[in-house]
Symmetry: C2
């Protein structure tokens, strides 16, 4: 529990000099530096981050708010964010919002207590009407579509474009009755709606009729819910030969349900997901998907936030590129 003052006393210098040594200031005589370093070692000195934060007005911590870390996609994203932050000497504190609007707003409020230097917020429940809430006195990067015109940076996925490509991929492999497994209509520009837009655009491209019966909405994007829904679709006699799932996680559930019902994938139904979670490669059959390049998104989110923390102005938007990854679940 030694303080700078203790070290200064031991080294026979002033606290300020110790501080200068700690912070690598150039104008310190080598012999002085040596004395100070020796004293620091002897006393096992550690900086008190709270005091430094108070003085500097910064915490060195950024917040990351995601629905739940225990979802492969967000886990992957969180891992990438933490790694990117580490490279910039920032620590990451994670908040779980459960994908609800209230919790997303609560996180914005929390951070106003200067807990974090900045916040990366994955918006799922919030909508355009909540733009006001984004007017907070610290940098925010929204992970999601440009829902808001507020004073925030955005890191977006190519939702519509990726979905469009996924559906085209199914059609290229011969599918004509392509179903989509998506979420409930939350906000007009939520992930579900954007990917649904891509789905519809693809159908148009292909000259296929849009059949609302093929669009299946689920309350919750879990493997279990997806499995149940697909089960119901098949036993209910819905006719489809392709299935585009909103997320890979949902696709995992779908694959399981199809296996239960002895519907062969890809022979009877071809399945494609979205996110490229690591697990997809190892499923049986392995899962075709849209890869939105998390790495680039994470790097960009942290980069934008860091720039803003350092006083950068102007609101930027980053949209990652995507790739369609063809695996067994859509093989011909």
């Amino acid at each position: 529990m030694a303080t700078i003052a203790d070290v200064a006393r031991a080294a026979g210098v002033s606290p300020m000099t110790v501080s200068n040594v700690i912070n690598g200031h150039p104008h310190v005589r080598d012999s002085t530096r040596a004395k100070v370093l020796a004293a620091m070692t002897a006393l096992d000195y550690r900086v008190n981050v709270a005091a430094r934060n108070l003085r500097r007005g910064r915490t060195g911590v950024i917040g990351l708010a995601v629905p739940e870390v225990n979802r492969p996609y967000f886990a992957q994203f969180a891992a990438a964010i933490i790694a990117a932050a580490q490279r910039r000497d920032l620590r990451v504190s994670i908040e779980q919002t459960g994908a609800t609007r209230e919790n997303e707003l609560a996180v914005l409020g929390l951070s106003r207590n200067r807990l974090y230097d900045g916040l990366i917020l994955s918006t799922v429940g919030m909508g355009a009407a909540d733009t006001e809430h984004l007017k907070v006195p610290y940098p925010v990067v929204i992970l999601g579509e440009r829902i808001f015109n507020g004073p925030v940076d955005h890191v977006a996925m190519p939702n519509a474009g990726g979905a469009r490509a996924a559906v085209r991929h199914l059609a290229d492999r011969g599918c004509r009755r392509i179903a989509m497994l998506t979420g409930v209509e939350t906000t007009e520009v939520g992930v579900s709606e954007l990917r649904l837009t891509g789905y519809r655009l693809a159908l148009q491209d292909l000259g296929l009729r849009y059949d609302p019966g093929l669009v299946q909405r689920m309350d919750e994007m879990s493997m279990g819910a997806a499995a149940e829904r697909v089960h119901a679709m098949v036993t209910g006699g819905l006719d489809f030969d392709g299935l585009f799932c909103l997320t890979d996680t949902a696709a995992m559930g779908a694959l399981r349900a199809l296996a239960d019902l002895a519907v062969a994938v890809p022979e009877d139904v071809k399945v494609i997901g979205f996110d490229n979670i690591e697990e997809g490669r190892f499923l049986v059959p392995s899962l075709s998907t849209v890869d939105p390049d998390h790495q680039a998104m994470a790097e960009s989110a942290v980069g934008l936030l860091a720039r803003r923390i350092d006083g950068g102005a102007g609101h930027e938007e980053f949209v990652s590129r995507f790739t369609v990854i063809a695996r067994e679940s859509t093989a011909v």
Copy 2:
């Protein structure tokens, strides 16, 4: 950026009274409280956490160091920890160690900067020889076996017991040549060794001969590495009818490799994992596993840490119960 002083001025009271209102002290006249609250709202006052931390000597943040959040098991665990911490008004900052000894030690050092009130450390790379490093001036809960006699609490999994039960489960279903997919020998009491102990004990119980050739060690516990290794085992002509995988993640890779080689699961080889990750239920075939009750472990880890933060003494150890979950991969 209003401070307590600003609020006090606006409300016509002293800063101390504002502080009392903020912290819910009882002896404040209602009318005074009302005035203060009004001023706080008007000025949009937010406490400065850095200042409060400095004064209180606490940060309200606990560190959670895991190899990587992007591994289903640790993601699940992290989610549970964060939820448990949230219930106690603690925030969780995550560090990724990559399962290396150096990084685990580095995290211990980091936290000495009073960044966290306490630390939950998942030890993988550290061994008994590192006990010294655990002597840090803040509470630590080790997630892992009682490797150390140091001044720390432990939250342990029933590694040996769970492994023993898993192997017995395979034998009960008719397996006689049971292979184990495990990690490299790191520490004498690492997860790999403990579960291997369970494996050997089970063989003894069953009167089966221990065949070192059936114990397959991998450098890295990933799906990809496991798939490769199992591929090599089969194409190399290794004779086995049961496979106990160190983790469910490894088992996912194993299942994939077996499918590639047209080895039927469970008919030709039965497979069981360890961890009960959520995905296991949805694999094809669904994965039998040992469930170590993460929920209880997480709750207990945060509970122990919170108690220590609040000054509790004495080193406790919590070992969770386990259950063997039988699914398709070990069906008869």
